[in-house]
Amino acid sequence: MKKTIIVVLLIACLSSHVRAEAPVASAAVTVPFTLLKTGHMTVPVKLNGKGPYTLIFDTGAPMSIVNNRLARDAGLLKDKPVALFAPFGSRGEVKVKDFEVGGQKAADVKVAIMDHPTVELFSKHFGPIDGIVGFPFFARYKVTVDYQKKTLTFEPGTYNPPDVMQAMLRAILSPESADGAVRVVSGGAILGFGVNQENRTSGPALVVDRVYLGGPADIGGLKKGDRITLVNKRWTDTPADLLEALSTIKPNGAVQVEVERMGKTMTLELLGAAGL
């Protein structure tokens, strides 16, 4: 009997040890979410220590949004004058010092204050739902969405999300996006080859029609006549596809190129070089 107790204690100690260590060992935090019948998910959110409030988690939302009720409750409306033009009770953006989803805390996250009609509609059906958690929060993390376990895991990442509103305003006002403008895509390195687009009955393909001798593509084994089907796992049906697929290339960065050559499919690894 005594031994049983010792074993139970041992196991208990083991599990409590695991529990205590988990958050320290990895800064990843797993947050259970509630799945609404509509297929949307909600998470508990604390703003500056107030809450928790219930918000929708939305990878399709460029902004995070909170409604006026939450904003008032969490004290976000300080120094926010009521604007003359305020559709949906919009009060502009505020920076939230302490934005916490489940147990994962982020500092200085921007949220827009507005009574989003879709959110209000959810609120009417499913009880108080006060906003949306979007890109400015989740982009900071390596996020794992598991619908089966109904969890979101946020592991601190290295991406620094830019200000979406600023970027959009700049883009809308920039001459490059004006009528008839052409966007020039530029990768950060040179490979040294050219292609021709060929329309085949089996679908379009890009055919290599020029490989500069001694250039990175030549060294990597690319040959004239090769049909390029994939670059870094991306489809290359058109020259524009190829441009986009190569837009992230860097000097000394590897590029996987899948080609068809004499009926055979092979994958080449090309190394980008600094150059023009």
Binding site: T38, P117, K142, T144, Y147, Q148, R234, W235, P239, L276
Partner: protein
């Protein structure tokens, strides 16, 4: 003692059972994506071999949505409730989603974004809950690929607020789509702006302590024709002084194929101005 051993055996059995219960090996797929200007995660898909079409990954959408035009091109027929099943729905990266059911509809958000040309590419649909729930997804913005792992379970079907399975009720926001479309029209926006590549000059560069040096000139390239030589020190690109190869690239970045690029190099103490006729190339 007997109890102790039993416990231990029990624990071993449990571990054994866990190992056995673990699926043989989970197969994960790398799904390349692009971030659009409004910071949407955009993936590409071919439906019944047609496309690729651009989709936004949206946990805020109850289901897969695609436009009537996409359905027509891919030959997907809508049932009386507006849903259609795709025979083959293949994501870029090689993941094939079996029997993907979607609503054939144009949500106002798409109309708005395409009307303003905001995404930099025409958006053809959204991938929402009914598809996403079949996978475990890991999204890291620091990488240009996501990870999708098929899960062996059948998620519940989502219900809509109205009778129409999801898109019907948006809380009276629908007018925004046509408003944005109107605004986009006034600003002269297209859903798909024309894209071209930086023109190729055909020189490789090397960074040195005191500046940039032409490491080699690709034989037969425009730079070769224009007379750039290996060992030349690159001083200016498009009339701007350069001190590094990345700077040189920045200054040349907006010069498309078919245009010219002005270079200034230093050779044997002399400054030489050269004009390169840029060609299409990668």
């Amino acid at each position: 003692m007997r109890i102790y051993i039993l416990m231990l055996t029990g624990a071993l059995l449990a571990v054994g059972a866990m190992v056995a219960a673990e699926p043989a090996k989970e197969k994960s797929y790398e799904v390349p994506y692009r971030l659009t200007l409004p910071k949407h995660l955009m993936v590409r898909a071919k439906i019944n071999g047609k496309g690729p079409f651009n989709f936004i990954l949206d946990t805020g959408a109850p289901a897969l949505f695609f436009t009537e035009a996409v359905a027509a091109r891919a030959g997907v027929k809508a049932d009386e409730k507006g849903w259609g099943e795709c025979e083959r729905f293949e994501l870029e990266g090689g993941l094939v989603i079996p029997k993907a059911r979607g609503r054939i509809d144009t949500p106002f958000q798409l109309e708005g974004m395409n009307g303003m040309g905001l995404a930099g590419a025409e958006i053809h649909g959204l991938i929402g809950y009914n598809i996403l729930a079949q996978y475990r997804m890991t999204i890291d913005l620091a990488s240009d690929r996501m990870l999708w792992t098929p899960m062996a379970w059948t998620p519940e079907r989502p219900i809509g607020f109205g009778d129409a399975g999801g898109s019907a009720a948006q809380g009276s926001l629908e007018f925004i789509g046509s408003m944005m479309k109107g605004l986009g029209g006034m600003l002269g926006r297209k859903a798909t702006p024309a894209v071209t590549g930086r023109g190729q000059a055909g020189i490789l560069l090397r960074d040195e302590v005191d500046g940039v040096v032409v490491a080699s000139v690709l034989k037969g390239s425009p730079s070769d024709t224009a007379g750039v030589k290996q060992g030349d020190r690159l001083r200016k690109v498009a009339d701007r002084s350069v001190t590094s190869s990345s700077e040189a690239l920045d200054f040349a970045a907006k010069h498309a194929a078919g245009k010219t690029l002005a270079l200034q190099v230093e050779r044997s103490g002399k400054s030489i101005d050269l004009t390169i006729n840029l060609v299409e190339g990668y």
